[in-house]
């Protein structure tokens, strides 16, 4: 049976990530929450979550001793980054001076205050919190069976701005931004599939079934 490692580097509240993954994995995979580099190295797939402030996440990752194994996993096995875990894959973030992992080119930027106005003049709040539409930019196995325009749950004040053309799904607030990106064996998503009801569970199930090919 395949083993899916969810990386626990001390950023708390991974309960829902673990439970939702266990639910969709059923008897097809064993799901472990781990802070152990060897266990991450031995896993068939890796989930890299994260929440809170990006500099804190990066600091915890440095201290945890799992950074190297996470980076290695991102080069060789199906890898799912969620929220700040996804953001950490970019080069740096406006949220702090710390360099992040640099797996993807580009920065993580804050929703610019001067642009936060809706079509009808409505002021748009930050954090971008709630259910927003997901528009498919290109097909990906993790999005199989999820309709264009499906809503997922977001809660974030920063979003990625990739240098390369790696966006798979976009959302809009008020402008289009990359909500999920993918390259080779990596899929990284800004919103929370583990909190996005049936659509989110579908994505996680697709990850369980994914062979890591784009």
């Amino acid at each position: 049976m395949q083993k899916i490692a969810i990386v626990d580097y001390g950023m708390g509240n991974l309960h829902s990530v673990v439970k939702s993954m266990q639910l969709v994995a059923s008897d097809r995979a064993s799901v472990v929450l781990t802070a152990d580099a060897a266990e991450i190295a031995a896993a068939d797939k890796v989930v890299f979550p994260g929440q809170g402030a990006m500099p804190d996440c990066m600091a915890h990752l440095e201290e945890s001793g799992v950074k190297a194994s996470v980076l290695k996993a991102a080069t060789e096995k199906p890898f799912l980054g969620i929220c700040v875990g996804a953001q950490l894959l970019f080069e740096r973030s406006e949220e702090g001076p710390t360099d992040s992992l640099g797996v993807f080119g580009g920065q993580v930027i804050r929703f610019p205050a001067e642009q936060m106005v809706g079509a009808d003049g409505e002021r748009l709040k930050v954090p971008h919190m709630g259910w927003n539409e997901m528009f498919i930019k290109r097909d990906h196995p993790l999005w199989a069976g999820i309709p264009d325009g499906e809503r997922f749950y977001f809660v974030h004040s920063y979003h990625f701005a990739p240098v390369d053309d790696i966006a798979v799904v976009e959302s809009a607030y008020p402008y289009r931004f990359a909500a999920a990106v993918a390259r080779d064996n990596i899929f990284a998503i800004q919103c929370h599939p583990e909190k996005s009801a049936d659509a989110g569970l579908k994505l996680l199930k697709n990850f369980v079934n994914w062979d890591g090919r784009p």
Partner: protein, 255 residues
């Protein structure tokens, strides 16, 4: 805008069970929290809020079991409030599976708890609950109250909301205390004043008696989300009916 306005059923919990009552009188058992959460999820609830109304501190930990059980089976955002006194309480609730923790009285008595919790867990996890009511006839000034609206704090509700945003709150849960339980609708000028004063989302609460009230909370109160309890618990309306009413009024919802 495509971002949907949210509808949030609120469940009162004590001794590990969901209870319902009118104005905290005549509480009766409304059933198993997981079953109720599942039902609201199926109806399309965007989030769920659990309010721990346990009076004695002996039974406080029971809410943790409730949250753990719900979070293991229902995969939408969960907020928990009631009895949060220190950063450690926030941690325990988040570890049990809550996504956000709502802080009410402690935000007033110990504002540094809001700041400490936001620094530690991120603003996205911290909701500050504000109970407010009008202090003038013309309903243009509102004061923050505690203890179910009985104790005045002297704090201006709009200023207080701004201060909570500064301290790191990611969201405001605003209850119109002079409307709570009345079923005559939100205090709309209050809701609008607070919503317009802060950059973070505001959830309107208190006084909902029909679906038009939910609509008004968004269109006139400028709320990002609306919270209601009794209209859903007593089966008057389903969450889906509420969303259909909002959609018919031109509000973006998740259906």
């Amino acid at each position: 805008m495509p971002l949907a306005k949210r509808i949030i059923p609120c469940l009162d919990v004590t001794a590990g069970r969901v209870v319902k009552g009118v104005n905290f009188v005549g509480l009766r058992d409304a059933g198993d929290p997981v079953e109720i959460a599942k039902r609201y999820n199926l109806q399309g609830a965007d989030e769920l809020t659990f309010l721990d109304i346990t009076a004695s501190s002996d039974n406080r930990d029971l809410i943790l079991h409730v949250i753990e059980a719900v979070a293991s089976q229902v995969f939408i955002p969960l907020t928990v409030g009631g009895g949060v006194r220190q950063v450690g309480d926030v941690r325990r609730l988040l570890n049990a599976g809550a996504d956000k923790v709502s802080i009410n009285t402690t935000a007033i008595t110990n504002p540094e708890v809001v700041q400490g919790a936001a620094d530690k867990f991120g603003s996205q996890a911290i909701v500050v609950a504000i109970d407010a009511k009008a202090v003038d006839e013309s309903n243009t000034r509102w004061e923050v109250f505690t203890h179910g609206g009985r104790r005045a704090t002297g704090l201006d509700a709009v200023e207080w909301a701004r201060k909570m945003q500064q301290l790191g709150a990611g969201e405001i849960l605003l209850t119109s205390m002079d409307r709570d339980g009345t079923k005559i609708g939100f205090n709309l000028p209050l809701t609008r004043a607070v919503s317009d004063a802060v950059d973070i989302p505001v959830i309107a609460s208190g006084g909902v008696g029909n679906l038009q009230h939910l609509v008004e909370g968004v269109t006139q109160g400028h709320a990002s989300a609306v919270l209601a309890a009794s209209i859903f618990h007593f089966g008057e309306y389903t969450v889906r009916q509420a969303k259909e009413a909002m959609q018919a009024a031109g509000i973006e919802v998740r259906l």
